[in-house]
Structure formats: structure tokens, C-alpha cells
Amino acid sequence: MNVGDERVAVDLPDADPAAVVDAVEGEDEVPWSGGRIDLPEPGPLHDRLNPVEPGLSVSVRSALAAAARSRGLEAPQDDEIRRVEAELSGVDPEPVDAERARRRAAEAGDREAELSERVAELRGRVRAREAAGLDAGDARERLSAAAGDLAETRTERLAAEQLLDRTRERARCQRDLRERRLRLEDRLGNLEREARAHLAAVLWDEFRDAVAAVPGDGRAGANPGSFEGDPVTAALAVFRVGDPEVPAVLACGRFSDAETAAEVLDAPVIRVEG
């Protein structure tokens, strides 16, 4: 990122790294001594590496792939990735509210069981009164009312079960779509992983040189992805290899000033170490 012809190299010794990262990500401008500058959208390098501070966790392969993307490099998997993404965007399973249908069926079943018990109880009472030669008129009336309720509830329960069956049928069709979506997502994940491995391999020699060029401990092996040492060193080397859209936010104590850091990393820099 350049302001006019000048690369951003800013020291903010008293700033909080997290606050600077927030500002870099925000739609707001970044305030620092000397002015405010509109920043482009942060890219994957920023997402993975900023702020560069002790304790940072870096997947070297993924970070290096992000560096490759920041330079506009493409992977052989890109066409297929775009194709799978397009296919994926067309797979859109509809929500099926099976929960409501399940609840309705369960509640109707409970009501029916309750009423069924009540009818049996009233029937017993009618019989008992008749057997004892007592007037059963009242009890018979209540029995008939409860039996009517029971018939109605049974109809409701059957309707609820039919609805549940239909809902399950629909859910099953939608699950075919969900399964297809999952397969596409897995395919996309594999392609993206392959693309990252490819891009990391393309930049690996540059990365090894960069590890030697930036300050700090670290050694990159011959095989892409093999790195031993302080992750901060790896992050700095990735910034040096990449072409970051927004400044590297450095809180790692590796540089005496922002100018030097920007020179070594060949990248815009905000240095927040006092």
C-alpha cells in the first residue's frame, strides 16, 4: 500500500496491537500521526497473520498460499474450484419444519390417551351405578360427552400423524440435497487444500530465502511446509514473500523502527511496539 509514492511505514509505539488490527479491518480510516488513509479490504494474509506478535500460531502452508494469492498467483485447481462453487450455490435445501409436526403429533397422542382413560373411568362409573340400582343418567351424559371428545381427538391425532408422515417424506427429499451439498463442500475443501499445497510449493524457495533474510530464529526445510523455529519469523517471511493489501501490524520486537521493517518485509508496516 502506498500513499502517493511512499510506502506506509508507521510507528505507533503506544498503540494496542488488537486496536490497530480492528482499525485496519474497520471501514474507518486508520488514525496515526501524520494523517488518515483509506485502506483496502483486508485480505487473507491479514486474516492469518496480523498482528504479528509472540505466541502467534501460523500454518506456514496456508499462509504462504495466501501470500501467493496476494500476488495474484493462480493454482491449477482454480477452474474446478469455481465450477464446484457455482454448483454449490445452486444447491439450496429448503427448511422443513418437522419439529412442529412432531410436537403436534405427540401432543395429540397425549390428549387421546388422557381422554381414553377418562372414558374408561366414566364407563366403569355408569356400570357401577347401574349395578347398584342407582340413577346413572348424569354419569351417562358425562360419558357421552367424553366419548365425543375422544372421537374428535382421535381424528385430530390421525391428521397430525398424516401431517408428520408427509413432513418426514419432504424432509427426506431435502436430505438428499443436504447430502449432495455436503459432498460438494468436501470436494471444494479438498480442492482448496490441493491448491494451497500447490501455491505453497511454488513459493517455497522464495520463502526459504525470506526466512534467512528476516530477523529471528527459524529454518525452512527442503519440503514445502516444513518449518522449524519461531512462528513470528515464519510470519515475517510470509509478509516479505507476499504483496499484502493492508499493512503488516508488527508487535514482535524484531525491528528498530517501521522504516527498517518496511524495507526488510518489502511491505507496508504499522509497528506497535514501544
Binding site: P93, P95, V96, A98, A171, Q174, R175, R178, E179, R181, L182, E185, D186, G189
Partner: protein, 112 residues
């Protein structure tokens, strides 16, 4: 038992986590599905997954099949005969035609 099937990457990951954290309740795991014990705790684990992932989690209740209780003898006999008597590449429909064994469509039409 409770059959829990997942339909998204995040739901599958949650299932993995649940399976490794609650091995005593997980009877068996198959890729993106698993069988949980039919206990309140098994149901609790399944329902929590459904809360988190909605319809990307399917929960079914399974029961063992007792063929002597749940299927007619004609079906059991057909299965035995097909396995023992048919050549490996004979389709069942062809094997059954002209015999007393039930044809596949009639079996499809009968629920058990």
C-alpha cells in the same frame, strides 16, 4: 438406539467431538453417522446437536429386527433360498419367478 446422521461439515465435526467425549454413550460410529444409547443422555446429546445444527442433524430411533416376529416366513424362506440356491449373479426377480417365493414388488408393497 438412536441413529444420528449429519448433513453438514460443521455438524459432522460436532458429531466427532461428541463421539470422542462421550464414548460410553456412543455405541458405534460410521463416518458422519453414529448410534447412541437409547437413554435420556443419548437423547440429550442428539437433541443438543439438533439445537445447534437444525436440520443438518437427523435423529431416528432404531430397534433390533426380530425376523421371527417381524417378518412372514415366506420372506425369511426366500432370503435363505436365494442365498443358498441362486448363482451369484442371478437377480432375485428372476430367481423368484415361477416359484412360490414372493416377487420383489409384492414385498416392496408390504410394510413390516
Amino acid at each position: 438406539m438412536l441413529l444420528v446422521v449429519t448433513y453438514s461439515r460443521t455438524a459432522r465435526q460436532t458429531l466427532r467431538n461428541v463421539c470422542s467425549a462421550h464414548g460410553d454413550t456412543v455405541v458405534r460410529r460410521f463416518g458422519r453417522a453414529a448410534l447412541f444409547e437409547a437413554t435420556e443422555f443419548g437423547a440429550f446429546l442428539a437433541l443438543r446437536m439438533r439445537e445447534r445444527h437444525g436440520e443438518d442433524v437427523q435423529v431416528e430411533r432404531t430397534e433390533p429386527l426380530n425376523e421371527y416376529r417381524d417378518t412372514p416366513e415366506s420372506v425369511r424362506e426366500a432370503a435363505r433360498a436365494y442365498e443358498e440356491e441362486a448363482h451369484d449373479n442371478t437377480p432375485y426377480a428372476k430367481f423368484a419367478s415361477g416359484t412360490d417365493h414372493p416377487d420383489p414388488d409384492s414385498m416392496r408393497a408390504e410394510s413390516i
